[in-house]
C-alpha cells in the first residue's frame, strides 16, 4: 500500500537516514519517537511537502516521489490542527471538495455525512478560534477524510489536548479508522497512544527507524533503550471484553477485571500505575476491582515507590513513599491491589 524505500532527507535541524517501511492496506501504523527524532519530517515527506534527498515513496504501487502534494491523495492533520482561521467549520471541511470540479449536490451530501459522523453539524457556522481543542481536531480530521484519501497522516494529533479529551478522541480515532478503513500513519511521542492505537508500531530515533513490530513484540523485546524505558511503566493488557449489567468484564488472561465501556470482543485495557491503590486488607466497594497478589519488585524513586505486584498478571503500581513506609511493604508481602472500573481505559 504505502512503501518507503531507502528514504533520506536532511532539513533544518532534522534528518532522516535510510528509512524503509511498508504499511499495509487499512493498517493503523503508529510511529513512536522522542521530540526531534524526525517524525514530522517523515510525514511531510510522505505528503510531498519536501522532496527527499534520496529514496522513493510509493502509494498504491505508484511512485509518487516526484508528485506535488495535491496529486498524492494524502490527508494531513497537524498537532495544532492548522484550520483555516478565515473560514468557518463547514468551509474548512469543504475546502478540498470545492477545489475539485464535483457537482455541488454530491459534495454537500459528503460533507453532511462526515459532519454527522464526527458530530460537528451543530458547529458548522462557527469560526475555528471559537472551538475547543478537541473540536478543532475533529474538524481537521473531517477536512482530511472527506476527500477519501489513500493515506491519512496524523502528526501528534492528540498531544495538544487535555487528558480527558485525549482519551475520548483516541477512541474516536480508533472507531473512525475501523469504519473508514483508511490506511493511517500516526506519529506520537506518547507510548500509550502508540500501543492503544497502533496495529503495528515503528520506533524512530535520531532519524532512523530502528524497530518495527506489533505492540506486544515491541514492548516485550525492545531493541532499544528508549523503548525499554517504557516497558512495565504502564499496565497494558490485551483481552476479551463481555458486557454485563452496564459494565464490561475483561479477561486479560488469568485475571478478570471490570471496566466502564461499551466495547465488546478483542480490546486493549490500560491502567495507570498511579490509579492503583495498595492495601493490606481488602477494600469492599462497588465499581472497584480488587485483586490479591504478592509484591515481586520494589524500586525507590525518591518521593514515590514503584512496585510490581503479581496478581496473575504483573501490575505496576506507584505509591507515595509515605504510604509505602506506613504499610511496611517487602518483596513477597501479600497485598491487595484495587482500582476503579472507570480507571480502566479500554480501546
Amino acid at each position: 500500500m504505502l512503501s518507503i524505500r531507502d528514504l533520506s532527507k536532511k532539513w533544518a535541524d532534522f534528518s532522516l537516514t535510510n528509512i524503509n517501511l511498508d504499511v499495509k492496506e487499512r493498517e493503523y501504523f503508529t510511529v513512536l519517537g522522542p521530540t526531534g527524532a524526525g517524525k514530522t519530517l517523515m510525514l511531510e515527506l510522505i505528503a510531498g511537502f519536501h522532496r527527499p534527498d534520496l529514496g522513493e515513496i510509493w502509494i498504491n504501487d505508484k511512485n509518487v516521489t516526484d508528485l506535488p502534494p495535491e496529486q498524492r491523495k494524502v490527508g494531513f492533520v497537524y498537532q495544532d490542527y492548522s484550520l483555516f482561521p478565515h473560514l468557518n467549520v463547514e468551509e474548512n471541511v469543504e475546502f478540498g471538495l470545492r477545489l475539485k470540479k464535483i457537482p455541488k449536490s454530491e459534495t454537500d451530501e459528503k460533507i453532511r455525512r462526515i459532519m454527522n459522523l464526527l458530530s460537528l453539524t451543530h458547529l458548522s457556522k462557527r469560526l475555528p478560534k471559537t472551538l475547543s481543542g478537541g473540536e478543532q481536531q475533529k474538524v481537521a480530521l473531517a477536512r482530511a477524510i472527506v476527500l477519501d484519501p489513500d493515506v491519512l497522516l496524523l502528526d501528534e494529533p492528540l498531544s495538544a489536548l487535555d487528558t480527558q479529551t485525549q482519551e475520548r478522541l483516541r477512541r474516536e480515532l480508533k472507531d473512525l479508522h475501523e469504519r473508514s478503513g483508511i490506511t493511517t500513519i500516526h506519529v506520537t511521542h506518547d507510548h500509550v497512544e502508540a500501543i492503544l492505537l497502533g496495529d503495528r508500531i515503528g520506533i524512530l530515533s535520531d532519524g532512523k527507524l530502528i524497530q518495527v513490530g506489533e505492540p506486544d513484540e515491541i514492548f516485550r523485546k525492545p531493541k532499544w533503550e528508549f523503548v525499554a524505558k517504557f516497558v512495565g511503566v504502564e499496565n497494558i493488557f490485551s483481552g476479551k471484553s463481555e458486557l454485563k449489567k452496564g459494565l464490561a468484564r475483561i479477561d486479560i488472561g488469568n485475571v478478570l477485571i471490570e471496566a466502564v465501556t461499551q466495547k465488546e470482543g478483542k480490546v486493549k485495557a490500560c491502567i495507570r500505575p498511579e490509579d492503583i491503590l495498595l492495601s493490606k486488607k481488602p477494600i469492599k466497594s462497588s465499581g472497584r476491582n480488587m485483586l490479591q497478589g504478592k509484591i515481586t519488585e520494589i524500586s525507590d524513586r525518591g518521593a514515590t515507590v514503584r512496585l510490581k505486584v503479581d496478581v496473575g498478571r504483573e501490575l505496576v503500581v506507584i505509591i507515595t513513599k509515605r504510604s509505602f513506609l506506613d504499610m511496611k511493604l517487602r518483596i513477597g508481602s501479600g497485598i491487595y491491589a484495587s482500582f476503579k472500573a472507570s480507571s480502566v481505559h479500554v480501546i
Partner: protein, 263 residues
C-alpha cells in the same frame, strides 16, 4: 474606575504627542473656516484645484496598484523563502524611506529623465518628464516600501503549515496562495496599501523634480499658490487636500477595522 499612576502618566504623555500632531491640523481648519470661508468655497469650486487634487489621488492610486501587482508577490517570496542576496533586496526596499526627497528626485531624474538611463531610450513613445507616468514613478519610488514591508509581515504571520495542508487537500501552489495565504495576509496588505497611498499623495519634491509643475499635482499647486499669491491662497488648497485625505483615511481605516474583526 480608579486610574492607576502609570496609566495617568501614559495618558498625560499621550495627550502631549496628540496635541503636537493635532494642533497644526486643527489650527489650519479653524483659520480657514472661521476667517476665510468664502475663499475656501471659491477654491473648492476652482476647476484647476479640483483637477490637481484629483490627479494626486488618481496617481497615488496607480502607484499603489503597480506596487501591489509587483510588490505583493515579492513580499510573499521574502516572507517564505531564504535565498542569497535577500538582505540586500530588503535593504533596497527600505532605502527610499530613509533618503531625502530631493535626493530621490535627483536619482529619479538620472534614470527616468529625458536623457536618463531609461527615460532617454523610451522617450519617443513614453515620457516621464511632464507626464502622468513620471508622477506615478516618483510616487511609487517613495511609497512602495510601506506596502511591500507590510505585506511581508502579513505573509510572515500566516503559518506555512496552513498552505501545506491546503496542498494536501488538493490545492495547487497558486490556489494555496490565493485561498489561504493571501486572504489571511490581506488585512495587513490593505493597511500597507493605505499607508502607501498616503505617502504617495504627500510626495512633493521627487514629483516636482522629475515631472516639473505640469501636470499639476495638489502639493505642487499649494506651493505655487503660496509662492505667487501668498499664504492664504496656498492654505485654501491645502485644506482641501487635507480634508480629502482625512476622509479617505478615516473611511479606509474603518474598512480595515472591519477586516481585522472578521479574523
Amino acid at each position: 474606575m480608579k486610574i492607576g499612576g502609570i496609566t495617568a502618566l501614559f495618558i498625560a504623555l499621550g495627550i502631549f504627542i496628540v496635541a503636537v500632531l493635532a494642533l497644526p491640523i486643527a489650527n489650519i481648519f479653524f483659520k480657514q473656516f472661521a476667517f476665510d470661508l468664502t475663499g475656501f468655497l471659491s477654491a473648492i469650486t476652482d476647476q484647476g484645484v479640483l483637477k490637481a487634487v484629483g490627479l494626486s489621488c488618481f496617481s497615488a492610486f496607480l502607484a499603489v496598484l503597480v506596487t501591489f501587482m509587483f510588490g505583493v508577490p515579492l513580499a510573499y517570496l521574502l516572507a517564505r523563502k531564504d535565498f542569497r542576496g535577500k538582505a540586500l533586496i530588503e535593504g533596497i526596499i527600505d532605502l527610499p524611506m530613509a533618503i531625502p526627497h530631493v535626493v530621490a528626485g535627483i536619482m529619479l531624474l538620472t534614470v527616468f529623465g529625458l536623457s536618463g538611463l531609461i527615460g532617454g531610450p523610451v522617450s519617443s513613445f513614453l515620457r516621464f518628464e511632464g507626464a502622468l507616468p513620471g508622477i506615478v514613478v516618483a510616487m511609487l519610488f517613495v511609497s512602495a516600501p510601506f506596502l511591500i514591508n507590510s505585506a511581508r509581515e502579513g505573509f510572515q504571520s500566516v503559518d506555512p503549515r496552513l498552505e501545506k495542508v491546503a496542498r494536501s487537500l488538493g490545492a495547487t501552489e497558486w490556489e494555496a496562495f490565493r485561498k489561504v495565504a493571501f486572504p489571511l495576509a490581506f488585512p495587513q496588505i490593505f493597511s500597507g496599501a493605505i499607508m502607501s497611498w498616503a505617502r504617495a499623495i504627500s510626495e512633493f519634491a521627487a514629483v516636482i523634480m522629475l515631472v516639473g509643475f505640469f501636470p499639476m499635482v495638489a502639493p505642487g499647486m499649494i506651493w505655487s499658490r503660496f509662492y505667487s499669491q501668498g499664504l492664504y491662497e496656498g492654505m485654501r488648497v491645502a485644506v482641501i487636500l487635507l480634508l480629502i485625505t482625512l476622509l479617505v483615511f478615516v473611511g479606509l481605516k474603518y474598512l480595515q477595522g472591519r477586516l481585522y474583526a472578521k479574523h
